[in-house]
C-alpha cells in the first residue's frame, strides 16, 4: 500500500472512533433496555422448576383466563377487521362532508389512556350509565361481564386494520375497480376479486397488530371487568391478580407464556411487514 492510501485510511479512522463510540452506546442501551428483561424473565420463571410452571398454568382459573383472552381476541379481530375494512373503503373511495374529521377520529384510541377508555365505557354502560341504564332494566350485564370487555377491547384495537388498509387503497386508486365494473363485475364481485386481494397484506399486518394489542390489553379491561376470577379475568388480569397476591410463580409463568407468544407473533409481524412492503410495488 502506497503512502496516499495510508493517508486516506488515516483520515477515515478519525471518524471511526466516533462511530465506534456511537455504536457501543446504542448497543449497550439496547442490551440494558430490551435484552436483559427478556433474559431475566426466562431465567426467573424456570428457577422454580418446570413443574411449578406447568402446575400454575394448569389451574382452572388460569385456563379460564387464557380461554377468555382467546375469545375476546378472536371476536375483536373479526369485528374490527370487518368494520375496519369498511371504514377504510369508505374513507378511500367516497367523498363527503366531514370525511377528514372522521379520519382524524381514527387515531384517537391510540392517544387515549386505557384507564380513561375503560372509564368512558363504565359511564356509558354501567348500571346507571347513559345506555347501561336501559340494558340493566332488561337485566343484561355489560360492565363486569363479557360484552363490556369486548367493547373496551374493540375500542383500543379499532384503528389497526383501518389504518393499514387505508394507505394501500389510496395507493391503488379506484381504477382497477372501475375497470372491473366496465368488464361486467358486480359490486360484490369487484370487492371480492379485485379490492380484497390488493389489500390482503395490509390487512394481515393490521390483524396481527390487533391480536398483539388485544392479548396485551390490560388497563381498559381491568376497569370494565372487575377482574372477577373465573368469570371476567383475562390472561393479563390474571397475571396482575396473582402478582398482587404474591403468587409469583403463577404470575411469572403466565407472563412467560404471553411473552413467548408475543415473540412468535412478532416474527409473524415482521414477516408480513416485509411482504407488505414488496407487494405494494
Amino acid at each position: 500500500m502506497s503512502d496516499e492510501h495510508r493517508c486516506v485510511e488515516l483520515t477515515r479512522s478519525r471518524h471511526r472512533i466516533g462511530q465506534w463510540l456511537l455504536l457501543s452506546f446504542v448497543l449497550i442501551w439496547f442490551f440494558i433496555l430490551i435484552l436483559t428483561p427478556l433474559i431475566g424473565i426466562i431465567k426467573a420463571t424456570f428457577s422454580q422448576g418446570i413443574e411449578a410452571v406447568k402446575s400454575s398454568l394448569a389451574t382452572p382459573a388460569s385456563m379460564h383466563a387464557f380461554w377468555l383472552t382467546l375469545v375476546i381476541t378472536a371476536s375483536a379481530v373479526v369485528l374490527n377487521t370487518l368494520f375496519g375494512t369498511i371504514l377504510a373503503v369508505v374513507l378511500a373511495r367516497q367523498n363527503f362532508k366531514g370525511k377528514l374529521f372522521l379520519e382524524s377520529l381514527l387515531d384517537l384510541p391510540f392517544a387515549v389512556s386505557p384507564i380513561v377508555a375503560g372509564f368512558m365505557f363504565i359511564l356509558l354502560f354501567g348500571p346507571r350509565g347513559w345506555i347501561g341504564n336501559w340494558f340493566s332494566s332488561l337485566n343484561i350485564k355489560i360492565i363486569y361481564a363479557f360484552p363490556g370487555m369486548l367493547i373496551a377491547t374493540l375500542f383500543v384495537t379499532l384503528p389497526f386494520v383501518a389504518r393499514e388498509v387505508l394507505p394501500v387503497l389510496r395507493e391503488f386508486g379506484p381504477e382497477q375497480e372501475e375497470t372491473a365494473s366496465t368488464l361486467g363485475a358486480s359490486q360484490w364481485q369487484t370487492f371480492w376479486r379485485v379490492t380484497l386481494p390488493s389489500i390482503k397484506w395490509g390487512m394481515a399486518y393490521g390483524v396481527t397488530l390487533t391480536i398483539a394489542r388485544s392479548i396485551g390489553e390490560f388497563g381498559a379491561v381491568l376497569v370494565v371487568s372487575g377482574s372477577i376470577i373465573n368469570k371476567t379475568q383475562t390472561a393479563t388480569l390474571r397475571i396482575h391478580d396473582q402478582f398482587t397476591d404474591f403468587n409469583y410463580a403463577g404470575a411469572f409463568s403466565a407472563a412467560l407464556l404471553l411473552a413467548a407468544f408475543s415473540f412468535f407473533l412478532l416474527n409473524i409481524i415482521q414477516y408480513i411487514y416485509k411482504n407488505k412492503g414488496s407487494a405494494s410495488t
Partner: protein, 367 residues
Amino acid sequence: MSGIRVESVTKKFGDFVAVDDVSFAVEEGELVALLGPSGSGKSTILRIVAGLETQDHGHVYLTGEDVTSLSPQKRKIGFVFQHYALFKHMTVEKNIAFGLEIRKKNKTQIKKKIAELIDLVKLNGYEKHYPSQLSGGQRQRVALARALAPEPKVLLLDEPFGSLDAKVRKNLAKWIRHLHDRIRVTSIFVTHDQSEAMEIADKIIVVNRGRVEQIGNASEVYEHPKSKFVASFVGNVNVINGRTYLSHIAIEGTEGRISQKTEDIPEDHDIVLLVRPEEVVIEKKASKDSSIPAEIEEIHYRGSFYEVDLRIGANDIKSFVQKERYKSNPWTVGEHVFVLFTQFKVFEASEGHQAIHRMLKQLGYIE
C-alpha cells in the same frame, strides 16, 4: 501545471472494474465533457476527482496540487448533482450562502456574493423561494450558483441536465457555455448525450467500460474516430457488414463493391463499414463511383431535411438528404437507386461489433 490532471486512476467495486487506468488532463479555463454511455464509469471518474469516491490506484491533481488524499471538503471544488441536491429546508438564498457561511465570510460579503450570483443565474426575485417552489431548470441554476459561490478552483457537473426535458436541456446547456465563457473556471461535465457534448465542450473525453477511448475536440472526435466505439457513439452512424478483398470491399448481400484498398486490414476479413447518414448520397443512375445498388424503403420528412431508409443487401441504412436536393429529384418508395459514400470508416468485425449494434439499438439509432 494548473487545471485538472488525472493520472492512472483505477477503481474497482468488488470484481467489477469501474475505472480502468484512466489518465487525462484539463487545461485551466477549459470546459471538458466526459462522454460515454451509462455504466461507462464517467460518473465514477468525476466523483473520484471530487473526492466523493476513493480510487484504488492513481493520483488526482487540482491546480498543480496533489489532492489524492484530501477529503472533498478540502479540495475547493464546486459540484453540481444530477438531481440538484438542494437543501430542501433552506431558501434559495440560504442554499447559495451555505458554502460562504462555512468559510466564515462576514454578512456583507455574503449578501454581495449572493446578489451577484442571483443576477448571474437570472433568478432575481426568487431569493426567498424554497426548492419545492421552483421548476427543474430553476433548481439546477440554484445548484450552479451554490457551487460557484465559494469561488472554487474547479467546477464538476454530473449529468446536470439528466432530469430535465429536451427543450430545457438545450437552453441550459447553451447557457452553461455562456456562463463558462464569463467566469472561466476549469470545468468537467459528465453526459451521455453526444450532441450536447459536441455543442458546448472545448474538449471531449470519450469513455467506455472504464477506459478512455479518445480525447479531442468535437470535430476531431466526429471526423476522425479512433475506434469503432467512438465512431458509433459520437453522432449517428450506419453499420454495414462487408468483407475485404484484394482491391475492393464487398458489401454483404449485394453485388456492390467499393473500389478501395483497406490499409490496415488484411484481405479476406469480415469488416464493418461505418458511414454517417449525411455521408450517404443517393443517385438514380449508377456511376463509376456509386456502384452500390439499394432500394428505398421509407422516406420521412424531418422538417429541415429528409430521412431516407434504404436497404443494401442485408443491411438497413439511413441517409439524410437536404430538402432542395430531394425536391429537385424526388425518389419513391420501392425505387431502385444507387448509393455513394462520401466518407466512411472501416473496422474489423469482432464480438465488439455485436456490442456496437446493441448499443445503437439502445440509443435508438437503429431499430
